[in-house]
Symmetry: C2
Subunit: 79 residues, 2 copies
Amino acid sequence: MSKKAKFYHAGCPVCLSAEHGIVDLIDPNKYEVEIVHLGEAKDRVAEAKGKGVQSVPALVLENGNVYHINFGAALKDLG
Amino acid sequence: MSKKAKFYHAGCPVCLSAEHGIVDLIDPNKYEVEIVHLGEAKDRVAEAKGKGVQSVPALVLENGNVYHINFGAALKDLG
């Protein structure tokens, strides 16, 4: 069964570039990736903060590992 | 045929955590990942710089996209 991963972004150019590149290379047999646009789903900013996300784009794995990928925007600026 | 990607790191704890997490999730049918330890292969620091790598760990795709993942060390500190 595939594990779950969440890719948080905010629609910025750096975010979209990372989304296309990173999500494309993830093995679909291992991970099911949920893409969360924090600019549109502001109610989920708290969820991302709770997982340790400090900036977007970021990828959070099921085991809790957080990978900040390049830098698009700080989470504190998203509300 | 799988595309090539390079994962540059320098043996630091942040690097190793990212290596295990990120390399594990890459689809082996799409990408063949070469892992380059810049602490041991100092002659390749220039290669990484030339690709736009500013810090490690970083993943560089065949299309030239560079993804800096979290922050372990600045490339300029590696020589």
